[in-house]
């Protein structure tokens, strides 16, 4: 701060509380002023990941900055909030060859779609991918896989082309023939700055007396920090008979993962009460939220206007978007809007922001529909696998987040 300059100017000019740090340092090479670190950060935070990884070699302080967790968080936040047209990741299946694909759509590249290859050299040999789960948080993609005969998870950051494998073995008290379902979730605990993977193991039990099927679920949580699995017991969920319905219609919202399922609370009841089963990543608690009966026949969870929402469809060429105005309050489900008239559409995949819906048409082509302008945009099939069935879609933003320890691979 140039105090000497101040003595020359009027005493009316007080720096006071708001002090502008503007250190004009002359650099060695030329007479241009060099930037203080906080302004340099403002520039670097706006760069894509590839440039930042390269610029680590500019100077030592740049290398330190790019690996600094605070900067990484700032960079992620900037790109999450400021990106006008984020890219969409679509996970799906090639039914003929039984291969899983990940497509990335870049709106800036004229709506073209390209295949994202996560089976890099080292991983391709080890892993066959199990298509039960696909999620992405903070630029990290989480996929369930089978590694050397055991189930495992892959945490992969395509922007830095590095990933980590989390192995796990099937729980010992689970006879294979009673295993009827496996469900997963990936989340981030903001309180402990920890990534978590949730595994739900479902067994079927046919009760001898009345041959009613009961479902029992065991819940396990993996903490990336602790690098271990723990089982969760004694939740209210255990007293209820819940069958999760994994049909790619779940959503991760506000640090909570939401599955759709069926509830059978009375013996003799059939499983037809539709519910949302939610799991809070920070507090590690479950909650049941019921749907109104009129959400029929098909549902997909989404986020609209920063609230939990549900896309209801299947009866006609219109799609209803319901919003839970007050989270957790079942009475607050409100029909927010009706989208349509949509012809030739098979099902909605996801809401993108508050303005667009990503849909799948009868030919399994991805279609982007703008709610306000009612414009339809078909995402190009260049690079599309031949017979491709899209299943899940999420908004993807690049990040510098990386993991250490464990089995790390490069793609």
């Amino acid at each position: 701060m140039s105090q000497s300059k101040m003595s020359n100017t009027s005493s009316k000019w007080r720096w006071g509380r708001r002090w502008r740090s503007c250190r004009l340092r002359l650099s060695s090479n030329n007479n241009l002023p060099s930037l203080p670190e906080e302004l340099l950060e403002e520039i670097l935070v706006r760069l894509p990941v590839k440039s930042l990884l390269r610029f680590r070699c500019v100077q030592k302080s740049w290398s330190t900055l790019v690996q600094n967790p605070t900067f990484i968080a700032k960079h992620l936040r900037h790109h999450q909030t400021k990106t006008k047209n984020p890219s969409i990741l679509v996970e799906g299946l090639d039914k003929i060859e039984d291969l899983q694909y990940l497509l990335q759509s870049h709106p800036d590249e004229g709506g073209g779609v390209r295949v994202l290859d996560f089976k890099g050299d080292s991983m391709g040999r080890l892993l066959t991918v199990y298509t039960k789960m696909f999620a992405c948080i903070n630029g990290i993609i989480c996929i369930a896989g089978i590694l050397r005969g055991h189930y495992g998870f892959i945490l992969w950051n395509p922007a830095i082309r590095k990933g980590k494998i989390i192995p796990y073995t099937q729980s010992p008290n689970c006879p294979p023939d009673a295993l009827s379902g496996l469900y997963f979730a990936f989340g981030f605990d903001q309180n402990s700055n920890d990534y978590k993977v949730v595994r739900v193991v479902e067994h079927k039990k046919k009760s001898a007396e009345n041959s009613i099927t009961r479902y029992c679920n065991a819940f396990y949580v993996y903490s990336l920090r602790a690098e271990c699995w723990t089982q969760i017991f004694g939740t209210p969920i255990h007293h209820n008979n819940i069958k999760l319905h994994s049909c790619c219609n779940e959503i991760y919202f506000n640090g909570v993962h939401h599955w759709i399922g069926f509830l059978n609370s009375e013996p003799g009841d059939s499983y037809d009460h539709h519910i949302i089963l939610s799991f809070d990543m920070s507090h590690e608690v479950f909650q049941i939220i019921r749907f109104p009966d009129m959400f029929f026949p098909n549902k997909t969870l989404a986020v609209f206007n920063d609230c939990l929402a549900c896309i209801v469809y299947g009866i006609n060429e219109y799609i209803d978007i319901w919003v839970m105005r007050e989270y957790g309050v079942e009475d607050s489900w409100t029909k927010q809007l009706v989208v349509g008239h949509l012809l030739g559409i098979q099902r909605p995949l996801q809401l993108l922001g508050n303005e667009e819906i990503l849909l799948v048409d009868e030919n399994q082509t991805l279609v982007l529909y703008n709610i306000g302008s009612q414009e339809i945009k078909i995402l190009q099939r260049t690079g599309y696998p031949k017979i491709f069935m899209p299943r899940r879609a999420i908004v993807y933003v690049e990040s510098l987040v990386s993991f250490t320890g464990g089995i790390v691979f490069e793609s």
Binding site: G16, R18, S28, N29, L47, F55, R56, Q59, K60
Partner: protein, 148 residues
């Protein structure tokens, strides 16, 4: 709010109950050269004008602003951007600071290390072999870089 530093000056004046002929008061800005200041003033005026013209239509404002910014960038030398950033920061002019930072980011995004060093007037301070190691770790990030 534009030019918050200047507004702060007037606020401080009022708090002191000093009557000042606002139109004739000279505000000392020791850390801003006249050239960047002139550009910032023009930018600010244009921004306010575009906003007034498209009062309700936020999208139109954004579009027109983008067009103006593209035109402005053609007239500004890349080296001047550093001065503009410093000036915008000093004057607490957030929109201009965001714009010029974006402009610099855009200008260096696809460039080589050597270009970036020259641009910011920096020199490598790595030990022998350290830089090579770093380059190897993310060798793919050097692909497709613009020629100098």
């Amino acid at each position: 709010m534009k030019f918050c530093a200047v507004k702060q000056y007037f606020d401080d004046e009022n708090n002191n109950n000093i009557t000042s002929g606002a139109s004739t008061t000279m505000i000392p800005l020791p850390n801003v050269e006249s050239h960047p200041l002139a550009i910032l003033i023009t930018y600010c005026k244009k921004h306010l004008k575009i906003k007034a013209n498209n009062a309700d239509n936020k999208k139109e404002t954004e579009k027109e602003m983008e067009q103006y910014e593209q035109e402005l960038l053609k007239k500004v030398m890349p080296q001047e951007l550093t001065e503009l950033i410093l000036a915008a920061n000093y004057l607490n002019f957030k929109e201009a600071l965001d714009f010029f930072c974006r402009a610099v980011a855009s200008a260096i995004q696809n460039k080589s290390i050597e270009f970036v060093r020259k641009f910011f007037g920096l020199e490598s301070d790595f030990e022998l072999g350290e830089e090579e190691k770093l380059r190897e770790e993310f060798a793919w990030s050097f692909e497709g870089v613009d020629e100098d």
